[in-house]
Assembly symmetry: C2
Homo-oligomer: 441 residues x 2
């Protein structure tokens, strides 16, 4: 066959905007198309095999084509993928997640992380009757416009740190949306509380990713999370967590390590076992806004593919097998990887630092880890060196990372792949040392 | 085994809000759980087999466990369900849809109809730079809050027909959302144009479902669609179609029958082949707002599960096999069903009417078909008789309809099932005749 990625991409440009359906997979001069994938290896149709440290943007906790998921899904496939009726697997999976995650007493499934965060924000408004939300500057929470305000502000737009601007991501975002989103700096208790206080009566929820990737992949401090929790108690608002990415960090999610629990939690990614998924869980009394049995249903909500038995089956198997032991084992391997990469940084003697939590970590081209979004924000020069590094790793070292220089491990990764990663990075650091050093000038 | 739906539902209530994950599947005293489904038959774990006329809310064009989809998905399952890379199947499927649907030159896939409509509205704002949208009173467009304004107004809230109120669906909907959504009455050219004219400079798009289910499942007239089209040309706005449900109506969607084409079209339901899906397609120049290659990207957008190869594979097989001949055959069968139901109405001598298009139709408990949302709106008395009718059909006649008394056919349905439907309805009409007649008093 004369298929090549270059050729397919040329055809793709005639039917898909930009030739792709997700900006994430776009790559210059063209993306490579997958031939097949298994475990932590992904093979493109041009004949190249790569180690996959991205795992579909952190969504595949067991890597590709995990046999127990494949087998269970085939069984379900034969009896239907979606009904206008209930299926038992949604109850089994719901029970697993309620038992597993402290902050979740009741749950509802949706189809993506974007839908989960949107449903969480709407539920918060319905419960409190208040219109506004507050969110972290720079944090990513999917594509619902309220959730994406100030997802990517830059020095020309972000404004005074004491009162960060609400910066639109998409052109044409209505002013009403911007007015209803309050922005605060992560892990900065004093400034955040002062900002929240200015809108105390209007805030339905404070939305937090406990380890926000784009902010620098640094965990929220105990003190910060507790300060937000206490503020929401005092002001009749909710504290809600976006754990779409961070659930993997600990058996019960990143919320495990805090003494206080969120009122609502949004889930996605790994709980789908490789299939489209999202979920909203939380306190029973708050979740009641969604209950169709209530005499006055505050938040009517449905979804054609929500809780479809394929996603429920795959998700349940994925999470069942990602048990406490598996979580600890994977976190230990990621820690090992971090120390090996730190060793590579030392040997190459480059100004590079690492942040992370659980089975995820991110490499920064700066000598000390960033503490805030504004510190983590990359200049065009930094972004350009990161792209060179990603290309080096992708084309020369044959490994796929997330394009922030982050790794999200799957249980299919072993010490062998960790060695390949640290050795590949060592070569990359040495090769790019002058460029990396220049960024600090 | 001692499993029963009653028992499972009791357990479900401890983990899922209301015991369900979609309000659609809720049923008093409890929903039945599916054991297995095949073609147009669906079997619950309590041992009852039903004919499925709902097809997961119109999403399954070939019914359950359609063998060509099962086979193709199993092949894909073995090589992975989702990658941080592109896959050829998204290009194949995109090409099919672009060739099939006149209004679509470029396409992008998402995960649900809700996401498709949200992406369409955001793309309209990004292209025009305008903040507002206009939508049909009573039309359903998923759960994005801008799209769900006035989805279900009632006489106490809907206001003057010359200037319908923007009525929130969920409690706590921000005022800014309501202010940015303009409501007009479907198929009413004079009033609609007068309403649009009042916001001529601010309207990014006029959002239309060409055969809006909740408005009465009556097609938009040529004159109405043309009037909207011409108004948007004159006022630098877009005309955008929600064809999530209506794509099935004709080979190229409901837009086939109009001389003018929408600038953007949202898709979902049947294009997923039974898996979670949505898509936004449209004019090349408008879709460019999403193109990551543009020097200034107006609408950055991605999605973890967007265009995943399982959905692409299943969707492509479903649509490939729903070719022109299959569409015509299915529409003919639905027309046959409508005449048989009309015959049953005549025999039972009940004040009942039917509306529809293509392979979908809806039964109304009134002697003449409704022409507007306000006519189609049901009093609590009507709703109660409809529920009795649905229960009669579900428990006695063993058939599953959509809870508006609508049928969305799949290609698995044959003349046998049509006969069962009309005979079942005849018995139901006879049984409920006094109740149905009383509604007209």
């Amino acid at each position: 066959m004369d298929r090549s990625s270059e050729k397919i991409y040329k055809e793709a440009c005639n039917v898909l905007t930009g030739g792709i359906s997700r900006n994430t997979v776009y790559r210059k001069p063209y993306p490579n198309y997958v031939n097949y994938a298994s475990g932590c290896r992904i093979n493109d149709i041009d004949g190249v095999e790569r180690i996959d440290f991205a795992n579909n943007m952190a969504a595949l906790i067991h890597g590709h084509a995990y046999p127990p998921i494949v087998d269970a899904v085939i069984e379900q496939l034969k009896i239907g993928t979606a009904y206008t009726m209930a299926s038992e697997t949604e109850v089994t999976f719901a029970r697993h997640l309620c038992e597993r995650i402290d902050g979740i007493e009741r749950i509802r499934f949706v189809n993506s992380g974007t839908e989960a965060v949107m449903t969480m924000i709407k539920a918060s408004r319905a419960y409190t009757g208040k219109p506004k939300i507050a969110k972290t500057e720079g944090a990513y929470h999917g594509t619902y416009d309220f959730a994406e305000v100030s997802q990517f502000p830059d020095p020309s737009t972000w404004g005074d740190i004491d009162k960060p601007n609400s910066v639109p991501l998409a052109y044409g975002t209505p002013k009403g949306v911007l007015d209803d989103v309050i922005i605060f700096p992560f892990n900065d208790i004093e400034r955040t509380i002062a900002i929240l206080d200015q809108h105390a009566d209007e805030i339905a929820c404070v939305l937090l990713d406990p380890v926000p990737h784009r902010v620098g992949l640094v965990p929220g401090s105990n003190e910060f999370i507790e300060a937000i929790y206490n503020w929401t108690r005092k002001n009749n608002g909710l504290m809600v967590f976006d754990e779409v990415v961070t659930l993997r960090v600990s058996y019960g999610g990143a919320q495990d390590k805090y003494p206080v629990k969120p009122d609502l939690t949004a889930l996605g990614k790994i709980i789908g076992g490789g299939f489209p998924v999202g979920a909203l869980g939380g306190r029973e009394d708050v979740m009641k806004v969604l209950d169709p049995r209530e005499p006055k249903l505050l938040f009517p909500h449905s979804g054609t593919f929500s809780a479809n038995p394929i996603t429920m089956t795959a998700g349940y198997v994925a999470m069942r097998d990602f048990d406490k032991e598996a979580v600890e084992k994977l976190n230990a391997l990621a820690n090992k990887a971090i120390s090996q990469v730190e060793e590579a940084v030392k040997i190459a003697d480059v100004p590079v630092s690492i942040t992370g939590a659980g089975s995820m970590f991110r490499i920064h081209l700066r000598p000390t880890p960033p503490k805030t979004y504004r510190e983590a924000h990359q200049t065009p020069e930094t972004k350009s060196v990161i792209n060179d590094l990603l290309d080096y790793l992708y084309y020369k070292e044959k490994m796929l990372l997330i394009n922030t220089l982050a790794c999200m491990f799957s249980t299919a990764i072993t010490q062998n792949e960790v060695d390949s990663l640290s050795e590949g990075l060592l070569r990359a650091f040495k090769e790019m040392k002058p460029k990396i050093e220049k960024l600090q000038k």
